[in-house]
């Protein structure tokens, strides 16, 4: 009985092994789901000459994991599994030819809003964006309008008002013709992958068309008042200066050629 189990396990592990390798690597655990701590191990069961090994995370070699140890059994510890440390891990043995095995570390999707507070102008359009990191990426995106208690799903294509465009790592909700009464409030984006769902909230504020008008009018009024004050001040001072000139002229004027010259000189 035990022999039967061993043979079937061996067959299963062969079937699971990478098609490109004839070698057998036993990866334990084969998959990590929803755990906060895991130790990934790889055991090379074939008798190949091992020159070293290393681990790869999402296509990038983990520098610290490089070793020249010839042991066929290598481990990699994940202390705290979050969406950044999730993904595809590969253990690679430096043999002729190289062999590797993949272990998938799956986490809940990390859903976050591009901006938690968005602004839109009345009658204009508002764009709300949510993004996601992690592995695996959400396969399904949903948008809801309302608070945590009272939520209404927004369905794509039912009206011209809402448009939802989604890719695995980004979703965009476009609200057309914003109105101050109806569209202000919280919007929730939720992304679902095979492990579960995560969501984030965005608060939408709609500015009135006339919001900028009041400061504009205020400053224009201030400018007009200042310009008027300056011109009035000048008009009140100018007659004094003109009078000074005239007094000088009057005191010099007689019906004389000589005085006409003096006047000419003063006006210079």
């Amino acid at each position: 009985m035990k022999l039967l189990w061993a043979v079937s396990a061996l067959l299963l592990s062969c079937w699971r092994a990478d098609a490109s390798t004839a070698a057998n690597i036993v990866a334990n655990p084969p998959e990590v789901s929803n755990q906060t701590y895991a130790v990934l191990t790889c055991n090379l069961t074939d008798n190949l000459a091992i020159k070293g090994s290393y681990w790869v995370h999402n296509g990038k070699i983990i520098e610290d994991s490089k070793s020249t140890d010839t042991s066929p059994y290598i481990t990699h510890t994940l202390e705290k599994i979050t969406h950044t440390s999730g993904g595809k891990y590969e253990c690679v043995f430096l043999t002729e030819p190289q062999v590797n095995q993949t272990i998938e570390v799956k986490t809940l999707p990390h859903v976050y809003a591009y901006k938690h507070s968005e602004h839109g102008n009345e009658k204009d359009k508002g764009v709300l964006v949510c993004m996601s990191h992690g592995y695996p990426l959400p396969t399904n995106w949903n948008w809801y309008k309302g608070d945590d208690e009272d939520q209404e799903p927004i369905i794509n294509g039912t009206s011209d008002k809402y448009e939802i465009r989604s890719t695995p790592n980004k979703t965009t909700l476009t609200i057309n013709d914003l109105s101050i009464e109806n569209d202000i409030g919280d919007y929730i984006c939720s992304g679902t992958n095979e492990l579960g769902t995560n969501k984030d909230k965005i608060h939408l504020r709609v500015r009135s068309r006339l919001a900028a008008l009041w400061p504009f009018l205020g400053i224009v009024a201030e400018v007009i008042i200042l310009v008027t004050i300056i011109f009035i001040y000048e008009k009140r001072r100018k007659p004094d200066e003109v009078n000074d000139g005239m007094y000088t002229m009057k005191s010099n004027s007689t019906a004389n050629h000589k005085d006409k010259n003096v006047r000419q000189r003063n006006s210079n």
């Binding site: 102008n121 900028a212 008008l213 224009v220 000589k258 210079n268």
Partner: protein, 482 residues
């Protein structure tokens, strides 16, 4: 300037009083002219996404605005020569304000090019030229100080507008912000209202002091055809001379191209402007390239702006002292060369402290050159022809100013290293600096000679005038009627 030049102006500039209010008005006008195009870049990212255009297309708005501002120089000069500073600044303020309000309703990017770029740029040109010109009419003795104070407007308004624009953008979005900016720019009209035309009925003072500086006095004497060479003491003749030359100066004074000092200034400046603005543009990117984070890079710019703000009035004050005023062209040449040296030494700066030191020295250099830039032009051509001169200078400088940063950018892209760009900018500034030193040495010598000649001529004509005065009165009356 000595009272000798004041006699040629036909009146004594107040050198104070309402002049300080005019300096404040010029401060605002110049501040908006230089700082406004730079501060609009905060909105570009949002507008770029809104209209779905590329980055280079949105950057064109800034370029068109700057190009219009420089190209509008001669138009502005002609209008100032004809109508005086005040109406032109008022119209300019209204134009920029209207442009921003129209832009806030814009539906395409072409709309923005036309409104902000063309109309806004011309409006700013109508602000810049008259503001510079009117300082020359109000100040003679304290003119470098007045110029330095007025040019401080640029960094002060920029430091105010930058955070304000960010706040407006967060609160109102780009359309609302453009509307409100339209009203803020309307304050240029307040500045224009302050620019009261100077009272020219003041009596000219007799020539008792020896000339403090050469420059415009000797130049105008040498260049003027009739009036200056004879009967200078008889103010009747002076009046007719001003009238005939006034007709030419009503439009634009193209005889400036035969003016030695003007040509020196123009040649040097054209080369200098290739390397003047680029280091400012690339200061933050260079810091980021060396590995410093965004906030440290932005802090460098703040240090630069702060030093710039304080050094401009200080330079004005320094330029006013009796040691420097007569030879202010050498001071300007020194400032330009110092700028060049700063850039050549920049690649040697190590670490963040090195960059901070560079930012401080660069702020010093930039502020010095900016404060003196128009003062030396006024010193060379005189207040009468300054408005035409500055119009011609800005339109010719248009090319280097627009081409400078892209060329530097290309240097950085080709070599992948910022140091070649700094070497290039250093050379672009050091060469004109040395050129200025040599040419102004030669120029001052020639001016001293001409001054001696005209003094000798005046001594002769004053003897003749004494003889003339003894002749009958009706002969003089005849001349005044003519």
């Amino acid at each position: 300037m000595p009272p000798a030049a004041a006699t040629n102006l036909g009146y004594t500039p107040p050198d104070g009083g309402w002049g300080w209010a005019v300096v404040f008005g010029a401060f605002i006008s110049i501040g908006f002219s230089y700082a406004f195009p730079k501060s609009l870049t905060i909105y570009f990212k949002e507008i770029q996404e809104y209209f779905s255009v590329s980055y280079s297309e949105i950057a064109w708005v800034s370029s068109v605005m700057l190009a219009s501002m420089y190209a509008g120089g001669p138009v502005s000069s002609i209008l100032v020569n004809r109508y005086g500073s005040r109406p032109v600044v008022l119209v300019g303020g209204l134009m920029v304000s209207g442009a921003m309000v129209l832009a806030s309703f814009g539906t395409t990017i072409i709309h923005l090019y036309l409104c902000i770029g063309v109309i806004g740029g011309f409006g700013l040109a109508f602000n810049l030229q008259p503001a510079l010109t009117i300082i020359g009419t109000y100040f003679q003795v304290k003119r470098p100080l007045a110029n330095g104070l007025a040019m401080t407007g640029s960094p002060v308004v920029l430091s105010t507008l930058a955070p304000l624009n960010q706040f407006l953008f967060d609160s109102f979005g780009w359309r609302g912000s453009f509307l409100i900016l339209g009203s803020i720019v309307l304050n240029c009209c307040v500045a224009g209202a302050l620019m009261r035309p100077v009272n020219k009925s003041a009596q000219p003072k007799p020539k008792t002091e020896p000339p403090l500086c050469n420059g415009a006095a000797a130049e105008e004497d040498a260049a003027a055809d009739t009036g200056a060479q004879s009967d200078n003491l008889l103010t009747e003749e002076n009046q007719s001379e001003n009238k005939s030359q006034g007709h030419i100066r009503k439009f634009i004074d193209l005889s400036l191209f035969r003016h030695r000092g003007f040509l020196i200034y123009l040649t040097g400046n054209v080369v200098m402007f290739f390397g003047f603005f680029a280091p400012v543009v690339f200061l933050a990117p260079y810091a980021k390239h060396l590995g410093f984070d965004e906030y440290s890079a932005a802090f460098l710019l703040s240090i630069f702006a702060l030093v710039d703000m304080f050094i401009r009035p200080a330079t004005g004050l320094l330029g006013n002292t009796k040691w420097i005023r007569p030879r202010i062209q050498y001071f300007f040449s020194f400032a330009v060369s110092y700028n060049g040296l700063c850039h050549l030494m920049c690649p040697l700066a190590h670490g963040y402290i090195g960059l901070v030191v560079y930012a401080v020295f660069f702020g010093l250099a930039f502020g010095m050159v900016s404060a003196l830039l128009f003062e030396v032009l006024m010193d060379l051509v005189g207040a009468h022809r300054f408005s035409s001169a500055v119009g011609l200078v800005t339109i010719i400088e248009c090319g280097p100013v627009l081409l400078g940063p892209p060329i530097s950018g290309a240097l950085v892209d080709v070599f992948g290293d910022y140091k070649y760009m700094y070497y290039a900018c250093g050379v672009f500034m050091l060469a004109p600096g040395i050129f200025f030193f040599i040419m102004h040495y030669y120029n001052y010598k020639r001016l001293d000679e001409e001054q001696r000649q005209t003094v000798a001529l005046e001594m002769r004509t004053s003897e003749e005038a004494v003889e003339l005065k003894m002749s009958p009165d009706d002969k003089i009356a005849h001349e005044t009627d003519g």
